[in-house]
């Protein structure tokens, strides 16, 4: 083969490390990223005219963020970097891109998908009110624009990001009204053996919680969210929740950040016709891959949180591992010792991720308890009651069937934000395991595509 064309999608930790490994092997990969700047979500770079220090922006991860950014800056001359570019479809060995209205079809011999993650969300009554953000969204506001989502913010949900973002808000001088964690404190004890896979990370987590306590932020564990209170004209006024003992409490606030750990962005793997399998540990459908990242579709590789949520450190390792797998499959020499070491690293990160999943469990049962008036799909304003009544009327118990009849997941996000919760609601209602509900099929375009695409001026 003359010079293989390798395309990497995503310029976060895994995409950057994949591109770096390819460049080192003498290949000039195309690196396509939706963002304006590299770094992905976790190591998102601030706009050019902002001057906050790495320590201020990334806290304990400042060293890793700087290392990744420096690596990327050093790579720039060796890769074909295409920022602000969306891959909207994949077919017949080509990725189809949109950058504004400009479009291109790029051929690949190997495609490495490093598509990252978004918040996993569990609806709660009132989450459609202005002032409700996802945890990730609230972090983006702070990281990118140095703004808080409100004057008094409640952080609600579960997962490491809940504590991380709350503490970043405190450090930035924002008022955090409370942290409401749905996971019981005891879950963390059970998760300890797995969490000890990365003692440093575990220690960071403990420190974050301590810092929040020191700053006087009330932390409630094992809560059940009841309602985000407010009105169409006022937006969010407060959060009502139930304590483990069944007591209802209300906390006043003007903004809420909600999130339950993360979910991988798997739509491109879906469009590349990769096979998926249900992962019981995370209650998610994930694209199948081997230990090095090879998907079921030949020539397609999956790395980072876009394949499975294993964290940013694992993403760096799995990105490189996927690149080495692609090189090896193309008949190029790779250092097998390096592959072995990376596999070992990823396995260790996977153990830690198992611990996180146990410590901060996805509250699947909350979906069943949602009142009829709670909105599930915000794009299409489909409520829990709408889904239940469609199920009663039509007998629909399959995800795509429920979508066809109720419009749940039919809007511009294609169910990326409501799909998992809707599946849990349907499963509970039909009294079947959630894997039997199936998963929403991804369709192009991955994000909205201008009808003006390809228009000649």
């Amino acid at each position: 083969m003359a010079c293989p064309s390798i395309i990497v999608v995503g310029a976060g930790p895994s995409g950057t490390r994949a591109a770096e490994a390819l460049a080192k092997a003498g290949i000039r990969p195309i690196l396509i990223d939706e963002g304006r700047r590299d770094g992905g979500q976790i190591y998102r770079r601030q706009p050019d005219n902002f001057t906050r220090s790495y320590e201020k922006l990334y806290g304990t991860e400042a060293g890793r963020a700087k290392a990744l950014h420096d690596s990327f800056d050093a790579l720039k001359g060796q890769i074909d970097y295409r920022p602000e570019t969306l891959v909207w479809n994949i077919a017949d060995g080509h990725v189809w891109t949109a950058c504004g209205n400009a479009q291109e079809a790029l051929r690949y011999d190997a495609l490495i998908l490093c598509t990252g993650a978004t918040d996993r969300l569990m609806p709660v009554k009132g989450w459609n009110l202005a002032g409700t953000y996802s945890l990730g969204g609230s972090q983006v506001a702070l990281k990118s624009q140095a703004v808080s989502i409100g004057h008094e913010v409640v952080f609600m949900g579960s997962g490491p990001l809940l504590y991380l973002v709350a503490s970043q808000y405190v450090q930035a001088g924002a008022k955090v009204a409370a942290v409401l964690d749905t996971s019981p404190k005891g879950a963390r004890i059970k998760a300890l053996p797995d969490l000890l896979a990365l003692p440093g990370m575990l220690w960071n987590g403990v420190q974050l919680t301590r810092a929040l306590g020191k700053a006087g932020v009330p932390i409630h564990h094992g809560v059940t969210p009841v309602e985000i209170i407010g009105g169409a004209d006022t937006g969010v006024n407060g959060v009502r929740f139930r304590t483990p003992s069944g007591q209802e409490k209300t906390i006043a606030c003007d903004a809420v950040a909600v999130g339950y750990h993360l979910r991988p962005e798997t739509q491109l793997a879906d469009l590349a016709r990769c096979e998926f399998a249900f992962d019981a540990g995370t209650h998610q459908w994930l694209p199948r891959r081997d230990q090095d990242g090879r998907a079921s579709t030949a020539g397609v590789y999956l790395a980072g949180d876009g394949a499975k949520i294993l964290g940013a450190r694992s993403a760096e390792a799995s990105g490189k591992l996927a690149a080495l797998a692609a090189l090896s499959d193309l008949g190029l020499p790779v250092d097998s010792g390096e592959t072995t070491a990376l596999r070992r690293d990823v396995a260790n990160y996977a153990r830690f991720a198992r611990g996180l999943a146990k410590a901060f469990p996805w509250p699947a049962d909350h979906a069943a308890a949602l009142p009829d008036e709670a909105i599930i799909c915000r794009c299409e304003a489909v409520s829990a009651g709408d889904i239940r009544s469609v199920m009663r009327e039509t007998g629909a118990i399959e995800a795509n069937r429920a979508k066809a009849f109720s419009r749940v997941g039919m809007g511009r996000c294609q169910g990326r934000y409501c799909g998992l919760a809707a599946a849990e609601l349907i499963a509970a209602e039909a009294r079947i395991p959630v894997e039997q509900v199936g998963r929403l099929r991804g369709q192009a375009p991955v994000k909205p595509l201008p009808i003006a695409i390809g228009e000649e001026k």
């Binding site: 077919a91 066809a404 595509l449």
Partner: protein
């Protein structure tokens, strides 16, 4: 012991589901067998045009019969299938002025079949439909046509049939059908068998697999529609819109649903794979479709599409369905191969097939659809 009924219908699309409903109306016991779930392929993924104009003139009696059913669909089905009788306009471009004559000719003949069409050009066209681009020369407007939601229609017919007593078996893939004595014996992949003296094949792109078992193969070609939908915008475009042109690439259409989304379709057909149960929208087809849409209605160029889809359709070489009795086997009937144009006439097909089966005759002209036209 196999499950017995008066009639077995194989294929739970719009044709099979509506036939089941009307056959129950004639008092016959019905078993409807569907490989997957009701109405998921051609019936559920098409554009949703409830359009008579543009059809072959011999289809208009069937189309008229169908429109009467669409109009009463809410009462008949006990469900809203989002049928809007909001008009249909078919336009031609300036570079094909000869098509205006063809439109006039069609309108004259269609009037005799009870379809009133109004020809619009110049200011009359633009004041009524200001969204058309400068290339649009003339339009043929049918006020009494419209559109409906394909995702909802076939399942609503099937539920209504079920309430009337039809037995519907989803997730039932048929692997064999044969006539044993006076009865048809139909076997599912999992070994279940069904028995009835009458068999109706409404299996769309899979129709040939069954007709071949009775010595009547047909040259059906599976393809798939290229559909796209925009984000919702304020409801402003009432009629369904389509282009009259000999070029497949130029053949695009759009409609706005009450929710506000604009559904776009056409330009080319994509590949579909009945054996694998998959159909794909190829990116190059989306690109060609969007280019043609911009030409037809430039203002739509300001919107985004949020999703594309396709499904498995069966096309006949003459674009006419296989419909009516078998030429080889008594008690066997067909209604498949609607060639991407079955949605509007679907309920009329169901009613007509039920009439033929229950009464032995119909007023609807059926000659163009005979399966024997493909016999060697």
């Amino acid at each position: 012991m196999s499950a017995a009924s008066d009639i077995i219908i194989v294929g739970g699309g719009l044709m099979g589901s509506s036939a089941a409903l009307f056959l129950r109306g004639h008092g016959l016991s019905v078993t409807l067998l569907e490989t997957d779930l009701i109405g998921r392929q051609a019936s559920g993924t098409n554009f949703g045009n409830v359009r008579r104009q543009g059809r072959a003139l011999h289809q208009l009696p069937l189309a008229n019969r169908a429109i009467a059913i669409w109009r009463k669909s809410r009462e008949l089905l006990g469900a809203d299938v989002e049928y809007l009788q909001s008009g249909h306009i078919r336009v031609c471009y300036r570079d094909r002025p000869e098509l205006v004559g063809a439109m006039e000719d069609y309108a004259e003949k269609a009037r005799l079949e009870g379809l009133d069409l109004e020809l619009l050009t110049g200011n009359a066209l633009r004041s009524k439909f200001p969204f058309f681009g400068a290339d649009v020369l003339a339009g043929s407007y049918s006020a009494m046509d419209g559109h409906a939601n394909p995702r909802l229609a076939a399942p609503a017919f099937a539920r209504a049939a079920q309430r009337m007593g039809a037995n519907i078996h989803e997730n039932t893939r048929i692997v064999d059908a044969q006539k044993v004595g006076e009865d048809f014996l139909v076997t599912a992949q999992d070994g279940r068998t069904f028995r009835a003296p009458i068999l109706l094949i409404t299996a769309g792109a899979w129709g040939n697999a069954l007709s071949s078992q009775f010595g009547e193969p047909v040259p059906i070609v599976p393809r798939g529609p290229n559909m796209s939908v925009t984000e919702p915008v304020p409801y402003a475009i009432h009629p369904a819109v389509g282009v009259m042109t000999p070029l497949e690439e130029e053949t695009v259409y759009f409609r706005q649903v009450a929710r506000g989304n604009i559904v776009l379709g056409g330009s080319t057909r994509g590949p579909s794979y009945p054996d694998a149960y998959r159909a794909f929208v190829l990116p190059q087809n989306t690109m060609s479709q969007l280019k043609q849409i911009r030409r037809l209605a430039p203002a739509l160029g300001k919107l985004n599409i949020i999703r594309v889809w396709s499904g498995i359709e069966g096309y006949m070489p003459d674009s006419q369905p296989v419909m009516g009795p078998s030429a080889t086997t008594s008690g066997l009937y067909y209604a498949f191969g609607f060639s991407g144009a079955g949605f509007q006439i679907g309920p009329g097909v169901g009613e007509t097939m039920a009439e033929i089966i229950a009464r032995g005759a119909t007023d609807i002209p059926m000659e163009p659809y005979q399966i024997s036209r493909f016999a060697e």
